[in-house]
Amino acid sequence: MKLTGAEILCESLTRLGVREIFGYPGGAILPVYDALGKSKLHHVLVRHEQGATHMADGYARASGGIGVAMATSGPGATNMVTGIATAMLDSSPVVCITGQVSSKVLGSDAFQEIDITGITMPITKHNVVVTKAEDIARTMREAFLIANSGRPGPVLVDITKDAQQASAEFNWEASAPKLPAKRQRKNHDQTEFDRAVEMLNTAKRPIILAGHGIMVSGAMRAFEQFVRAANSPVAMTLLGIGCFPANDPMNLGMMGMHGEAWVNNAIQEADLLIAVGMRFDDRVTGDLRTYAKSARKIHVEIDRAEINKNVQVDAALVGDAREVLERLTPHVQTCDHSDWIRHVAELKGDSAVRDIQSLPDNGHLYAAHVINDIWKETRGEAIVVTDVGQHQMWEAQYYHHNRPRTLITSGGLGTMGFALPAAIGAKFAKPDSEVWVVVGDGGFQMTMSELATIVQEKINIKIAIINNGFLGMVRQWQEFFYDKRYVATPLVAPDFAALANAFGIRGERITKRAEVVPTIRSARESAETVLIDFRVEQEDSVYPMVAAGASLSDMIRRPNDPLVETATEP
């Protein structure tokens, strides 16, 4: 069967199981759009190509499958860069398709020509230029294979316009992936394995560090069995949240820069850390010289390049988390760690006293209250998509996730503007799930044009803007480390409720704590998107905090009476 390259692309995507494509048309990708119109694929028209990549990313993270974004050459492609980097840093399987100028004029600085494979080389798992129609089917199969195998990541396929227009024989069976024959390393090392087992069975104060890799590997059940066998408390990375139920008594919560004090203290006192599918990010470890000094370390990780990168470990078990844990668990002798577990519980009791939720209601609205109320009202079952900053950390602290893939957030790159488009992608992946956006007033203004996409696609998500009139996390750093010199952090915002109305979306503004729950309830009852502008305390800070580069033991704690410090009349 002879098809054009554009038709081959659409046919290949359909056969690869794609339903939605997030994209934006333009000259060099027009043949594909023409073919899209005749295919069964649903194209979601975004308002900016960065939004397309975040939507594909949100789709991938909510579903575990692959998200697809599309753009034209030149500026369309360069607008994708931030979204691709976001997916790269968080190991998210996204396939980006860009149009390219005709192969005959490649390298001539033709209109809207840019070397997008050169630009994205360090931020993709792989990228490739296709100049022939007959290579498109095989290349797409290879792209999908690469994106979601091993440690997932984004793949960019740049297709010249003449390749889209030319005709070629379409034969799916004959277009099987032909990737280079790589050496398969034998990952299992019996000496390392035996050493890990010995450490596990002799530890007195173990802590398991649970990361994103558990979700990627689909190792939730294997992980739970491992936790039971090891009888050890579990600390979560930001991206690991959801891979182990928050309501499990062994789950301590998030560790690191804004981890709860008891979690970080427990890590510092531990004699064994078992890190699973995480990469000892600097936000997790703080100062490496003082990090968990009395602990031996086991690292379960699929990516060899992560072993001993930041933290020197005593045993490295390289491989897929589920496979490694399933092999490891039968060798674990369940030990009595009740003294240790009781000690950690005591640490928790001390910290909980400082918790903002325990403070009396004085009529002021705190972000933590809002997020905690969203958690209660949604019974912790919503998919929450956050942006980056204070609200992101409060979400991690006050929304308790019991199921995997229900917190979607930009961890590694920390991309402001991620939340709204990623939530749209997540809603397409999980149309029957309740999706909440938790976003700051700063980040929201970066990609708020995607409100129009919501309206055009008639989707139903709930948007909670945590509006404090500041770029809050930067302001917090200025408060702590720059003598409260608030340079370029106070920011003007539009009336978000009125803005929503202008897009045809219901908007609400909330200033009092008593209004929070009724508004959340009424938003949830609506079958359409609702935006709520929560005007929260302006100069509240996220506690505890480990300053960048400081020791994990050295936490800045919430002052005992924060209301005196921060309260202002609304």
């Binding site: 792989h126 979601n148 195998s149 032909k178 280079p180």
Partner: protein, 180 residues
């Protein structure tokens, strides 16, 4: 200094991916040589990098994550044969020419071009040997020099061969694009 050998796909852009990776990891490359192997679709690289064992591990493991890199191996601690080749153009007049020829003989180098005012000397061997020759030639006036950079091979039965083709894809497909 760490020595790595990599087998890569012999196609455009692969050298860029390898060097771009070293740059991203902030590892300075002392020398990088690349040439085709007996199989023309596969090229072999010898990478000599200014880094420690830990950096070399990171480079090796990161290289192997590149789709076009078939194999990467840090061979620094193994029994190695290493060779560098240099062409050195040195000024030579009637008076000092005999002295130069003496030195060339001592270093087992060869004269490959003779001109009235200069000679081109070809020398191969370890980096130390070439550096040594260069040192003694300097007083005569080194006009130009071209060096290949190091190529390395493990000695004896310690083989480092590219993987056989068609081994990888079947294995990858099973863990591929399926929704997890």
């Amino acid at each position: 200094m760490q020595t790595l050998v990599a087998y890569v796909e012999n196609k455009p852009g692969v050298l860029n991916r390898v060097s771009s990776l070293a740059r991203r990891l902030a590892i300075n490359i002392d020398s990088l040589t690349v040439g085709p192997t007996e199989n023309e679709t596969i090229a072999r690289m010898t990478i000599v990098a200014h880094t420690d064992e830990r950096g070399a591990h990171r480079l090796e493991a990161s290289l192997e994550k590149l789709v076009d890199v078939l194999l990467a191996e840090n061979i620094s601690t193994r029994a190695l044969l290493e060779r560098d080749l240099a062409l050195i153009k040195v000024s030579a007049d009637q008076q000092n020419r005999p002295h130069l020829m003496e030195l060339i003989k001592v270093f087992r180098a060869r004269v490959v071009d003779v001109a009235p005012e200069s000679l081109i000397i070809e020398v191969s061997g370890t980096v130390d040997k070439i550096d040594g020759l260069l040192e003694v030639l300097r007083p005569f006036g080194v006009l130009e020099m071209a060096r290949t950079g190091r190529i390395s091979m493990t000695r004896g039965g310690d083989l480092l061969q590219p993987p056989a083709p068609e081994s990888a894809n079947s294995e990858l497909e099973s863990t591929g694009s399926s929704v997890k």
